[in-house]
């Protein structure tokens, strides 16, 4: 249970850093379209992947 809670906390922190930390997006969106798209699509995919990880954990596979 404690492991699950820690994982949930880390998933939130990592996604907040990726989406909000200015040096990351200023670095990627600095004039190269390839880099910019890697950042925007990559960060989106990481968050979607995070949701899949959360779903696979413990009781989240349960019935409604």
């Amino acid at each position: 249970m404690r492991d699950r809670s820690a994982t949930e906390r880390w998933i939130l922190i990592v996604n907040l850093i990726i989406m909000l930390f200015p040096p990351i997006h200023l670095f990627f969106a600095g004039g190269s379209m390839t880099m910019a798209l890697v950042y925007f699509f990559g960060s989106g995919l990481i968050l979607v992947g995070s949701m899949m990880v959360l779903r696979s954990m413990g009781d989240n596979r349960g019935e409604e």
Partner: protein, 485 residues
């Protein structure tokens, strides 16, 4: 002929939505049924209701226009929207549990219960209702664009606003009568059309653009940049707009109520799991199509019309289908906003001291009607000032986000008190409004922070400061501890 195709498809769409709503309707004066549909919906309905409320028709217009005119900065909507979905997962257990245990029906009801205070409840309701109004007017204007394009030149943009008002007034009959159940059921149909069909059209547009020499290599270098050091907007501007969007997400009363219409907390989580990939796919495709289209001269001249200009290359049927996508997204959003306005004003402002289910439901229905009439007047008065209205609607974000500290800290921390929450909200709201007036886009002296973020900082400081200086009485501490247990 083209007019018949455009307006004929609109008519078919309306008949479909109304047929589905009428088949599933339950006539009732029960306020729980009117406001949260008896907490009965499964995760697919929850997902589509969330998407249809979160992504209004203007996503195809102003937000697509931002990508078409400025490039990747328009993708910020993906970042904050996905964070909103992630927050849904983390909020699900506690919000649903408290909501069901205390029979809560609105966001203001929720914070009022958390702080055991009518003042918190009324303040949150007033901020919510005031902030939602410009979006209803903007929705009406988005509809105007649809009715103008789908008339193929027979109806001017100004006349089209009046057509859209007439259509919306008719549509609101079902919102007033059927309440939340009608909204969620219609959201399923509207959501499939707006984001399912809209996503497929976007794929078609991308293929068409890439095959007609409008690839990524044709985009200006500035399209791949965000405001950085030395820019007019400042290096913290992008951070500010994503933060405001993400934190503000669950401050919108019409969005927050989605946490109460589900069958269980697990349903809310399951809808977050479904919403994340759907939202990401739709937004990535639609915004990419809009950005690629920027190299078309007609799009460069009118970027807000990019969705319709792209669709016009496919002939009248494709243009009409694209218009229906905007219509479907707008309808869901306007219905949710007007219903939330009615329920909040009725329960959390006019009947804050209590009332029978019948009285509150009746008041809510009347307010939905009055709000619609006021929005119609607002749309008529601003028929030629869409840009100014969009600015006002985006400014509403700076106001609504001032609910965030009371809402989120109240969920995570036992100590915040009612006076701290009320004072924080008022200070944050006033600071945000004043700064928004002085600096409508960003504050250069603060590195590009927006008015809303500065308001948030003041709001949080006041909430924490007052909480620490004036701790709650022991009876209140015990009540809150029991709530968190």
């Amino acid at each position: 002929m083209n007019f018949a195709i455009g307006y004929g498809l609109i008519l078919l769409f309306f008949i479909l939505v109304i047929y589905v709503m009428e088949r599933n309707h339950r006539e009732t004066d029960n306020f729980e049924e009117f406001s949260v549909a008896g907490r009965s919906f499964g995760s697919w309905f929850q997902t589509m209701a969330f998407l249809n409320t979160w992504l209004p028709g203007t996503i195809f217009i102003a937000f697509a226009g931002l990508s078409a005119s400025l490039g990747v900065i328009g993708y910020y909507v993906i970042s904050y929207s996905l964070l909103a979905v992630l927050f849904m997962y983390y909020l699900a257990d506690r919000v649903f549990d408290w909501g069901k245990r205390h029979n809560l029906k609105t966001q203001s009801d929720f914070v009022g219960m958390r702080y055991n205070s009518d003042a918190v409840r009324v303040t949150a309701a007033i901020i919510g209702v005031v902030s939602m109004f410009p979006w209803i007017v903007l929705g009406l204007q988005s509809l105007g664009l649809v009715f103008s394009y789908l008339s193929f030149g027979l109806v001017s943009p100004e006349q089209a606003v009046f057509v859209s008002i007439a259509v919306l007034a008719i549509r609101q009959y079902w919102t007033v009568r059927l309440g939340m159940r009608g909204i969620v059921i219609s959201d399923m149909v509207q959501g499939i059309i707006a984001y399912g069909v809209g996503g497929l059209l976007s794929i078609g547009f991308i293929v068409m653009l890439l095959r007609s020499d409008h690839g990524f290599d044709k985009l200006a270098e500035s399209f791949a940049t965000l405001p950085s050091f030395g820019s007019d907007l400042g290096p913290l501007y992008y951070f500010s707009i994503v933060l405001t969007g993400a934190l503000g997400s669950w401050c919108w009363p019409d969005i927050f109520v989605r946490l109460f219409t589900a069958k269980s907390a697990q349903t809310v989580k399951n809808s977050a799991f479904k919403a994340a990939p759907l939202m990401f796919l739709f937004l990535a495709l639609m915004l990419t199509a809009a950005m690629l289209a920027s190299s078309m001269p007609e799009v460069a001249a009118a970027p807000d019309n990019v969705w319709f200009l792209l669709a016009s290359h496919g002939g009248p049927v494709i243009l009409s289908v694209a218009g229906i996508c905007v219509l479907a997204a707008t309808m869901g959003n306007i219905n949710a906003l007007t219903q939330a306005t009615g329920v909040h004003a009725a329960q959390d402002i006019f009947h804050v001291k209590g009332g029978t289910d019948r009285q509150i439901t009746r008041t809510a229905r009347i307010i939905v009607g009055i709000t619609t009439i006021l929005a119609i007047i607002g749309a008529i008065m601003t028929v030629n000032t869409t840009a100014g209205l969009l600015t006002l609607a985006l400014a509403a974000y700076q106001g609504i986000v001032q609910l965030a500290p009371s809402l989120y800290l109240g969920l995570l921390w036992k100590r915040p008190t009612a006076p701290a929450a009320v004072l924080g909200m008022i200070v944050g709201f006033v600071v945000a409004v004043i700064l928004q007036f002085l600096y409508p886009v960003s504050i250069p002296a603060l590195g590009g922070l927006t008015s809303g973020v500065v308001g948030l900082i003041c709001n949080t400081a006041v909430l924490v400061g007052v909480t620490m200086l004036t701790p709650a009485k022991s009876i209140e501490t015990q009540r809150v501890s029991a709530l968190f247990a």
